[in-house]
Symmetry: none
DNA sequence: AAAAGCATTCGAAAGTATTCAAAAGCGAGA
DNA sequence: TCTCGCTTTTGAATACTTTCGAATGCTTTT
């Protein structure tokens, strides 16, 4: 196989990488009928464009060391926004607080951003949130019980709701799938929505974490109306008009 | 399987670690068709990147989760035995079973070894066990609720015990800290022991997972006497005399 | 205490990377 | 067509990495 120019060689290399996940210099030399020096130069160019990872004798398509566990797509997208939102939310937590953290990627970002100053009690149904917080000896974590949903790694159902009845917390951090000015807060799972309602009933202050893509959307399960919530933390993709409407309802809007 | 270069070898090692939680040098030598020196060098490199923990003869996963030292220290040692024990225990699970899995490193090894054939219901208080099982859509996981202990990443307390009252399961898989012929089964935490008692009350068959170092030891919290249990799975470090004594009590002893 | 198993170090051999100056290719203009 | 100026490719020399077995020391088991 003889390749006329660089572009074609690069395409060949990337195609082979996509197919096999790995290429080595020697084989490419033979297949493309060029010298090793040339292949190495090609690989270096592609590496500089971060289209592959170089290693001795060849190259791989993805970094062998970022052993990415199959993080679902939702978790990847808008991570930076969620992270900033989580950071802002974490700043609202005071020493000796008792708070509830619901489930979802936004509140996981919150959990990762909590660096407790004093003692803290956290109630959550989300396994990943609980595990994140267990690192801190200052935090007492109450895990809600019940049937686990694999999509959110969190519990729902009567057992969780029953446990909630025994507690009274100062703040609830709630991640949602949709915020609609008329319809209120929604999530895509009806059981999750029901649990969230119980959570709302046991706290004094409700703080919603939602990146700006959530506004105007309606999920399947309605959680509550806008009039029930106290604060929304979102990113600057939110429209001024929406901010105005929320603030008119008496909600504090924090934009990160 | 012959791997040509480092990157692929490292990826293989990390993948295997992610799946099994433990790798040993000898097996990797065979699987990757390289010498022990090379594998050790690889493991050292990966350890320097803190992608794993080195241990005699192998390595264990360094999960950013479950990063509480107590478990990780324990996890380092005798992993091979625990893994084999977990494998044998997993073989006892039948389709459509409903089982309880307690907490500890041995039963975590069990969880990693479960590859369900049909539907399966699992009740557990251990977050790491629950997370491990959530991968399988065939498994319905019931997470117990309550206060979390960071050393074991598992719940104890009245909420967990209350949930247990509603279920009746066929088997309980129990990891313990000590097995004494007179004193019975013990664990180092009194709350854990109490929860284990409640678990025992809700199942028909009790299977204890314990590597051979546990025999003759007494932990702080007594769980039950030997007469209450049905089967023990352990490794071949157990003395013939102990096996005889256990079998005389009517316990089936499985040695892996 | 001995034996077995595992880890580390070292130098040799093979394989791979880099550099550099020479050669080859290529388009533009005479 | 030929040459000029440019980029791309190349082989050769050199430098670096990787792998391995053997020797030696360490840990665990018997």
């Amino acid at each position: 196989m003889s390749m006329i120019n660089i572009a074609e060689r690069h395409k060949f290399i990337l195609d082979k990488l996509a197919e096999k996940g790995y290429v080595n210099v020697i084989d490419l030399c033979r297949e493309l009928d060029v010298s090793g020096v040339t292949i190495r130069k090609d690989l270096k160019l592609l590496e500089d464009k971060s289209l592959l990872f170089r290693s001795h004798g060849g190259a791989t398509i993805n970094n062998p060391y970022t052993n990415d566990k199959p993080v679902n797509e939702k978790e990847k997208i808008r991570w930076q926004e969620k992270y900033n939102i989580g950071q802002a939310a974490a700043a609202l937590i005071a020493p000796n607080d008792a708070v509830i953290i619901a489930s979802g990627t936004s509140v996981l970002a919150l959990a990762k951003n909590i660096h407790p100053k004093g003692h803290l009690t956290v109630i959550t149904g989300a396994l990943n949130v609980a595990l994140e917080l267990l690192r801190w000896p200052e935090i007492e974590v109450i895990q809600l019980g019940g049937q686990l949903r694999s999509s959110s790694s969190s519990v729902t159902g009567p057992y969780a709701e029953k446990i909630l009845e025994d507690f009274s917390c100062s703040k609830l951090f709630l991640g949602v799938d949709g915020i609609d000015l008329e319809f209120g807060l929604t999530t895509s799972n009806i059981n999750e929505a029901h649990l969230n309602q119980k959570m709302i009933a046991t706290v004094q202050k409700i703080i919603v974490l939602a990146d700006s893509s959530k506004f105007g959307k309606r999920g399947f399960g309605r959680i509550c109306g806008l009039e029930d919530i106290d604060e929304i933390i979102t990113d600057n993709g939110i429209s001024a008009h929406t901010v105005k409407a929320l603030e008119d309802t008496g909600i504090k809007v924090t934009i990160v």
